[in-house]
Amino acid sequence: MKNKNQSVFDGLLADNTVLSSCMVISPVIICGDTLRNAEALAMAFTAITLLSVLLCSFIPKRLPYAVKIIIYAVISSLIYIPVRMAAQEFFPGIITRIGIYFPLLAVNSLIVVQTEAKFFRMKRLKMIPALLFYVAGFDAVILITAFIRELLAYGTINNRMVDADTLISGLGQPFGGFIFLGLLCGAYRAVRSLFPAEQSTGRE
């Protein structure tokens, strides 16, 4: 916990999983190049993370750290199975395109690491809305990133052609993802630094 006065809304902006903590960035960099990929990933991330963290919150806290981490990973791997089946119904073809990044969502840092460091230090009534905002923060970033990258790299929005004059095809590549996310993180920090309250917390 970086700040004792942490609000339940922090996960959305102030302590965003991707932009602030630089966690779960590989799916954003590699698969966040089209809106269809982003929708599938956001849906899977939301279902797996919410259900896993909620179920894991019932694991006794007195267990050794390593045992708890193993149980969290096993629970999220079990939740991944029905989520994958549902995703294949809703997003046929996309799951194959996303490839290894889909199962990797089940062992994301928010479940394996942040549960102990962040969520389970809160009371359950506060943890649930906080978790919702952390998940929403990730979903918002991947959707915004995918929208901009798809528009600029392929000249489409959700696979529909738009009248884009200039295309930057490199944005659809992994290196484009790295550079775009780096610039987005920088812009996010620059905007945050404009607010005096954010500067005084001395984060990052």
């Binding site: 630089c22 490839g99 089940a106 780096g182 812009a187």
Partner: protein, 190 residues
């Protein structure tokens, strides 16, 4: 020429620069030489031993149960996690406290799990790679690739975190852009 070809192949197959796996871990690891050495060694250990375990899972798991692959990989990595913790505890109880941190970071890392899925995917595309030797070699190669990417990042780490970089871009945003430029160079080499 042979070495240059090998070096280019290692870069082109690099999991961080081409697939962004383990990027957040590498940011932590590049901060100091001690962290870099410890994290990269433990991750290499996990990718190599995990690759052998992945071979066992892929060989034993019938294809109609492929949706259980993640669960099986998680269980095998969990087993390795417990084994490594136990082994390090008995090797040196004093050093265990500092080493266990790196084992915790590495066990369920994207770099490790991603490596297992990548190796498995390559083996299913090319049956010639579907043997334990190829799996272990690919696991070791992924670990060495991680070391290489960590070294590339650590070379610029202090400059990217220095006061010369604008405050908003200092640290991880600058490191992401830097990795993007290296990744672009690697992409051009392919």
């Amino acid at each position: 020429m042979f070495l240059i070809n090998d070096f280019i192949a290692l870069l082109a197959a690099n999991l961080i620069l081409t697939q962004a796996l383990g990027t957040s871990t590498i940011f932590i690891a590049s901060g100091s030489r001690r962290k870099l050495v410890a994290t990269t060694l433990v991750i290499t250990l996990f990718t190599t031993a995990g690759a052998a375990a992945a071979y066992a899972v892929d060989s034993l798991l019938p294809s109609q149960y492929s949706y259980l692959t993640l669960l099986c990989y998680t269980l095998t990595v969990s087993l390795l996690y417990v084994i490594f913790l136990t082994v390090f505890y008995f090797i040196s109880k004093e050093r265990f406290k500092s080493v266990r941190r790196y084992i915790h970071i590495s066990a369920f890392n994207c770099a490790v799990m991603g490596t297992l899925f990548t190796i498995s995917g390559r083996a299913s595309e090319d049956p010639a790679l579907s043997n334990i030797g190829s799996y272990v070699f690919a696991g070791l190669e992924a670990g060495v690739g991680f070391v290489l990417a960590a070294l590339i990042l650590s070379a610029a780490f202090h400059k990217l975190n220095s006061a010369k970089v604008p405050a908003a871009f200092r640290g991880s945003p600058a490191m992401l852009v830097y990795l993007g430029i290296i990744s672009m160079a690697v992409w051009a080499l392919k």
